[in-house]
């Protein structure tokens, strides 16, 4: 129960719980960001600092802001949620609880031949670079393609239709 696990865990739990509990949308989003930061710290704890930084860069930097922007754009900023305690909420928590208990039972029962984390020292980044370029070159390329397509898709979806305006104009003539 070393410190490097406890603090991030607490941050994470607080973030996740807040995300569920809070009524105001933006608060939930901020709680979520906190949870993502908690994940990053956990990754540092696990010795994968590069991933922690990537997590920070990707989630805290980009995804959180994206979610915030979407919330604002869809007018969520002001409207408050209705009362949290409702039959839906209850069902959700029952399901989640049952799921957690089951997984917990499964985890506790299973015996892992855990190797003591000999040295938490993280592996040099160059090792990651080599792995990516040599044995994981194809996934990397495909990832590149995926991200490009995703960007273009996002733009196409979200763009406000200047074309439609022009189309309607055409129609009117």
């Amino acid at each position: 129960m070393n410190l490097s696990f406890l603090i991030p865990a607490i941050i994470l739990l607080v973030g996740a719980a807040a995300a569920n509990m809070l009524r105001n949308l933006v608060h939930c989003v901020l709680a979520l960001t906190l949870a993502f930061a908690g994940f990053a710290l956990l990754y540092f704890g696990l010795g994968a600092e590069f991933l922690g930084l990537v997590q920070l860069l990707v989630y805290v930097g980009a995804v959180a802001i994206l979610i915030a922007f979407t919330v604002l754009l869809t007018g969520g900023g002001t409207a408050g949620e209705q009362t949290v305690l409702s039959p839906r909420w209850l069902q959700g928590f029952l399901l989640a609880g049952a799921m957690f208990l089951l997984l917990g039972y499964g985890i506790s029962k299973s015996r892992f031949t855990a190797h003591a984390a000999t040295s938490v020292r993280s592996y040099p980044v160059s090792l990651i670079g080599d792995a990516l370029i040599t044995s994981y070159a194809l996934p990397l390329e495909m990832l590149g393609v995926l991200l490009t397509v995703a960007t273009i898709g996002g733009v196409v979806l979200a763009i406000r239709e200047p074309r439609q305006a022009s189309q309607s104009v055409k129609v009117d003539q």
Binding site: L30, F50, L53, L57, V60, A68, V125
Partner: protein, 392 residues
């Protein structure tokens, strides 16, 4: 140790000496404190100096004096500002979101200070020697957007929100060229560790140092980096979010008093850290500009370069007009991004060629697309004498 090395390593030795005097159990904590406290003191002081430098500089550029009432030549002006900030009433808007409103500046300043952990201010004078220092810096840098969002949204002010949105959009747009140009340097250096990048640039050929800026791709990458850096820290040509003339003060409009000062501090510290990274990546970090000047201590060079960068920022702020939002975005996505990719390719060419071809190829690879892109950008603009329109 020679006197030169002594001078160079004076702070490191001091620290070891102090840590040595502390009982072993506390040593790690004290070690950390000793490295953190100087950073926290030195850079705010530098902030104070730059405020006065900036105001005096701008004055001089605009053919006026600048503040000269407080102390001789206005030297005590920062002190005055500090007192003003502290004593002003801290007004919080009625329906603002109290919690988020309060935490916004805190998060901002925290993140900015966090960025200083990896900066190599001198020979082995970096707070933390991370293996992926650059990535750390950019990850933390991207965190600031969340803080800006929190500030903008929590003050429940239309202009604040609008300013925050613009600032975030600008910062995200310029983050990509920033990182890509940094990637060019990292690719050549072969490592993400800032210390090693500096050592890569340590050599001298003749009296000229092997700084990356003196290579064709390096110079282009440096320019791109600096431009996106100014945008990243919302300064001068790109300071639309807090442009006083359009939307008053941007996302920190509803802040007053000490929180307002914090925002200012955060902004300037962000500028310093990003220019520090620029120095380490392209200007050889704490290396001496000329081979015969290596006797001067490394940290001194670092701060000298830093001050020159700050002066350039002030100079740019004084001269360049403010960019419109769409021009700003177009410039980012239609010029900076392609140029960054071009710089990457030229760096790749530089990496795999030898001798004079190296220079020729990488030079051509940069210049041709630049002229073509530039020409393309300019062709649809009719450059003619500026017409002044006066209100009738």
């Amino acid at each position: 140790m020679s006197s030169i090395q002594l001078a160079d390593q004076i702070f490191v030795l001091l620290k070891h000496w102090l840590v040595g005097r502390v009982p072993v159990s506390l040593q790690p904590v004290v070690g950390i404190l000793i490295t953190v406290i100087p950073i926290i003191c030195v850079f705010p002081a530098l902030f104070a100096i730059t405020t006065i430098l900036e105001r005096k500089g701008l004055g001089r550029i605009q053919n006026r004096y600048g503040p000269n009432r407080t102390g001789p030549f206005g030297i005590l002006q920062p002190l005055a500002d500090g007192v003003k900030a502290l004593t002003k009433e801290d007004i919080v808007p009625a329906n603002a979101d109290k919690v988020v409103h309060f935490f916004a500046p805190v998060v901002l300043v925290m993140l900015v200070f966090l960025a200083y952990a990896v900066l190599p201010m001198g020979r082995n004078m970096a707070a933390v020697d991370l293996d992926c220092g650059v990535l750390f810096f950019f990850a933390i840098g991207s965190g600031t957007e969340v803080a800006v969002f929190m500030a903008g949204w929590s003050s429940r002010n239309k202009y604040a929100l609008l300013g925050a949105m613009r600032a975030i959009a600008q910062m995200i747009s310029y983050e990509i060229p920033l990182i890509l140009s940094a990637v060019a340097a990292i690719m050549i250096a072969g490592t993400l560790n800032l210390q090693q990048i500096v050592t890569q640039q340590a050599g001298y050929s003749g009296i000229f140092p092997h700084w990356y800026v003196f290579t064709p791709w390096g110079f282009a990458a440096f320019l791109l980096f600096i431009i996106s850096a100014t945008a990243e820290s919302n300064r001068s040509p790109f300071d639309l979010p807090e442009g006083e003339s359009e939307i008053i003060a941007g996302y920190y409009i509803e802040y007053s008093g000490f929180k307002f000062a914090l925002f200012f501090l955060g902004e300037y510290l962000g500028m310093f850290s990003i220019s520090a990274i620029a120095i380490t990546l392209f200007l050889g970090g704490w290396a001496a500009p000329f081979s015969f000047l290596t006797w001067v201590p490394s940290w001194l060079w670092f701060f000298a370069k830093l001050v020159t960068m700050i002066l350039c920022f002030i100079w740019v702020r004084g001269t360049l007009p403010r960019l419109r939002q769409d021009q700003l975005m177009n410039f980012a996505w239609k010029f900076m991004l392609p140029m960054a990719l071009v710089v990457l390719t030229s760096a790749a060419c530089w990496r795999y060629t030898e001798g004079w071809q190296r220079w020729a190829i990488s030079f051509l690879v940069v210049i041709i697309p630049y002229s073509w892109l530039g020409h393309g950008m300019m062709s649809n603009r009719k450059l003619e004498q500026r017409k002044y329109r006066f209100a009738e």
